[in-house]
Symmetry: C2
Subunit: 286 residues, 2 copies
Amino acid sequence: MNVFVIGIGLIGGSFVKDVKAKLSDAKVFGIDAKPKHLEEALSLKIIDHGATYDDLSKADFVFVSIPVNEMVKELPRILDAVNDDCVVCDAGFTKELICKTLANHAKRRNFLACHPIAGTEFSDSSAAINGLYEGKTNIICEVENTAFKLQEKALEIFQLLGMRIRYMNPNAHDKHIAYVSHLSHISSFMLGKTVIEKEKNERDIFDMAGSGFESTVRLAKSSPAMWAPIFEQNKENVLETLNEYIQNLMDFRELLLVDDFEGIYNEMNNTNKIKSILKGIPINKK
Amino acid sequence: MNVFVIGIGLIGGSFVKDVKAKLSDAKVFGIDAKPKHLEEALSLKIIDHGATYDDLSKADFVFVSIPVNEMVKELPRILDAVNDDCVVCDAGFTKELICKTLANHAKRRNFLACHPIAGTEFSDSSAAINGLYEGKTNIICEVENTAFKLQEKALEIFQLLGMRIRYMNPNAHDKHIAYVSHLSHISSFMLGKTVIEKEKNERDIFDMAGSGFESTVRLAKSSPAMWAPIFEQNKENVLETLNEYIQNLMDFRELLLVDDFEGIYNEMNNTNKIKSILKGIPINKK
């Protein structure tokens, strides 16, 4: 089986690492806009061969893991290049614009819209790890628009990697993911910014930072090249979550201002139930 | 050496666990307002004996780890009860009000104001672990107000546990810790709240949460009984950080509203330097 990965960073690199480990007959081809990335992936043995779009006609399975702004430009070209029995899966963090872009493509049936929810704050292929997808949720959108045989082919590989599958429409995906992923990134980036601005004048401040701070700003290490296009494509949903978040922070500030510490206690106590909610989330830490 | 711990949760429990492991002649006595906590600590062998304030006269070293509102009530009583050669260290997350409260106490020289910056989001003695303080920063305030011999006694124990010592005045401590600790807790609690409110209607949302969300809301599991008094005692500093944080979020929202995605890229890129800053922070994860 010829497996192609387009965009060889953490997401794509970890995917094909597992494919190579679990699918003995897989030959893995890598395509990346940056020759340096290809060289690195070859030297790390993440891929077997470097390739270009001209080679896509021999692909059986294509996994596309590039920033979502590139996704809407490249996916139509990738679909143009593959053969009728090939399934193309994306790993985009947004789904609505991608699905809309491909809605009328002649090879829409060869495309399976996916969002495997996995990753760390690192983005290079050198950060790729085995088992990243084990137990993780993979959201599949508009499954009915993909040829049945090609769905099956993709699902076999996803199951091999240990993924849990959930079906959702692109609109619901983008709305919910804004809450549980995109907003976390903004809160983390702005927390990092607030503290760094302070640090300009106060050099000692980070000596005082404990693991709680590290955990809360972890996502502020994420790649701007990946995240700016996500916020652009999911602008309306992200704005909604951000409005609610800012409002909750202003309400908390109001409780502080009027010395309502019982109210503050209750706010925190009510949110403590996040403990039981989080128990179900599988964690990958570097 | 008779070592007393008052308040046997994660902070106090982990402290005496290491003391017992590293100081062969230490007898560890525990005092806790809740009999259940004492029983648990005894059964977990975190302490050797249960005790009361009446026993404090035989203490050589007292470690006080109770919520900061209790701290200002109990520390004067504890100092009243100890002998002249005993050193009392607190582990309060705020320092200004505590130091002010004890400023004119007859046994002020027996008190060493400390903030060992360590912990997890858990607060029970069952969460106590060995090595929690290894490599962690312990902020000591107003060291000049503690008898020199008693400073030495405390430092020997802190060094045995592997702590790094930093000296700071209480005012600077409370100001800086608001940025690197207290604000992280608010941002995390309010993020949890924002998402939980959404979840009322959307049961599937947490299936989509990945490790990034888990990391960002980890602190929202923290104990309200511990944190409401911290926000009360450090109100002015916390308000300052919260104002700056809300302003940064509103600026980010404005960039989104006017489609300035280059500006958003730059915001994130500038904050990425948190990577190098965080490298110096020692992490404890459960």
